[in-house]
Symmetry: C2
Subunit: 266 residues, 2 copies
């Protein structure tokens, strides 16, 4: 399976230009699955919910998402990309999985980062996996990395590959995703952006270094910090089916959920 990421620098408030940038970058790509950054169409540093809605897409009625679907159809591939999702009066920081026949799943970010709380509603979608060509993929977005429950829930659902659109400003995520891939024995593709969003309320700089990690925490590839990067690797998703860390230890079956109840109840 050929999987990878496209790291780029979205322009704030320029969805059409950002969409065109993606279309051009991927028009000849040979891949089964490409992950793009969080909020890849709108840019990141929104100031409030009104502005988020202004730059959001309604997935039922979005020329941009239709264009990406057409690209996925033409290349016979899947894309996972972040976008501001308009839904009635709500607005979510979402990621869509789209394939040759359109949208297959939308995940709404469960753990909002910092001032995102002023712009988006908290995600209300469960952590589920989607089957693409027999391979199970799960989606998390950026700051979800801090919460080990997310990758764990996806792995328990059978995720072999975790796709993580990101707009990272902190420096800890890339290293921590290695831990996630050790503790769950999964692949993880982190597609980060780079550059900066300069807005009246401040400036945010993004850290790039998109990466692909294999089960066991093996870093297969990490991109440069501040450069466009389209990277596709051939992986064997079945490697994520082997949960044995030793001949006696299955990292999922060895769990002791009867001792974990405090994770759910107070």
């Amino acid at each position: 399976m050929r999987v990878g990421f496209y790291q780029f620098r979205p322009l704030f408030g320029k969805p059409a230009q950002n969409g065109k940038k993606i279309m051009t970058a991927l028009e000849n790509v040979d891949a089964d699955l490409v992950v793009l950054p969080e909020l890849a169409l709108s840019g990141y540093y929104l100031k409030d919910k009104a502005e988020a809605i202004k730059y959001a897409e309604d997935p039922e009625n979005s020329n941009l998402i239709d264009s990406l679907s057409n690209l996925a159809n033409k290349r016979n591939m899947r894309l996972v990309f972040g976008f501001a999702e308009k839904s009635a009066r709500q607005c979510f920081n979402s990621a869509a999985l789209i394939g040759p026949n359109g949208i297959e799943h939308i995940y709404r970010k469960a753990h909002l980062f910092n001032e995102e709380k002023n712009c988006f509603d908290p995600g209300d979608t469960p952590f589920i996996v989607n089957d693409i060509k027999g391979v199970k993929i799960g989606i998390m977005i950026c700051f979800d990395w801090v919460f080990p429950e997310v990758a764990r829930a996806l792995a328990l659902q059978g995720a072999q590959i975790i796709c993580q659109p990101a707009n990272l400003v902190l420096s800890f995520c890339q290293q921590t995703m290695l831990s996630r891939c050790i503790e769950n024995s999964v692949f993880a593709i982190t597609a980060n952006r780079y550059g900066a969003d300069k807005r009246p309320q401040g400036i945010l700089k993004f850290t790039g270094k998109s990466q692909i990690v294999a089960p066991g925490g093996k870093l297969l590839h990490r991109a440069a910090a501040q450069r466009d990067a389209l990277f596709i690797a051939e992986i064997e998703p079945k490697a994520a089916n082997n949960k044995m860390m030793t001949q006696y230890n299955d990292v999922l079956a060895d769990r002791r959920p009867e001792l974990y109840k405090s994770l759910i109840y107070k």
Copy 2:
């Protein structure tokens, strides 16, 4: 608060000698809390349950543990150390917290590593915290590091310092404990052993590099791989009360337990 670890090389099957080694190393220590390795009295590479029981201590009736209690009393400190715990017909890979008045808590390892499954019963104690001089400490043992649920459960109980007796043979734990301290904003003291256990069934080499990590994943100190190391640092446990990763993000309060139910139920 003065906390730290004593990294050494227990001799297999020589509880008295190992006890003496610990007593001598700590007889003049100035500390509030010292963490020792897993199975610090018996040595590690037991071949079966009969042998585990042979080298195990019954905490109600153990001269060695009484001696360690006396030491804790004399120095007015707490010790957390791993030992094989005999309890009726069962045997656990346990860690005791002892203070000036004796045993305050025993934690029985929940996640057994590799051939430990032939030697010990799975732990049956909940993840709880103990109050020492107003500071809340939690205990995990070695391979528990793979399961993010453990540090999470302890942090949710209010643990400010996680004490981890360890006999590590894999190389991932030390780095992953940084992630645990980021995602939970706690201190962690990993007391590992070094050297090797050569037994008829094989040889196991241990990786040393005991460490203290601060909230945010800051490595305060890491010992050498193959050397005795008594290290004590002054820390401010209240730093672990601050769970704010940004002005909007509390790493515990931001959790979404209603989305985590699959961690407990199938």
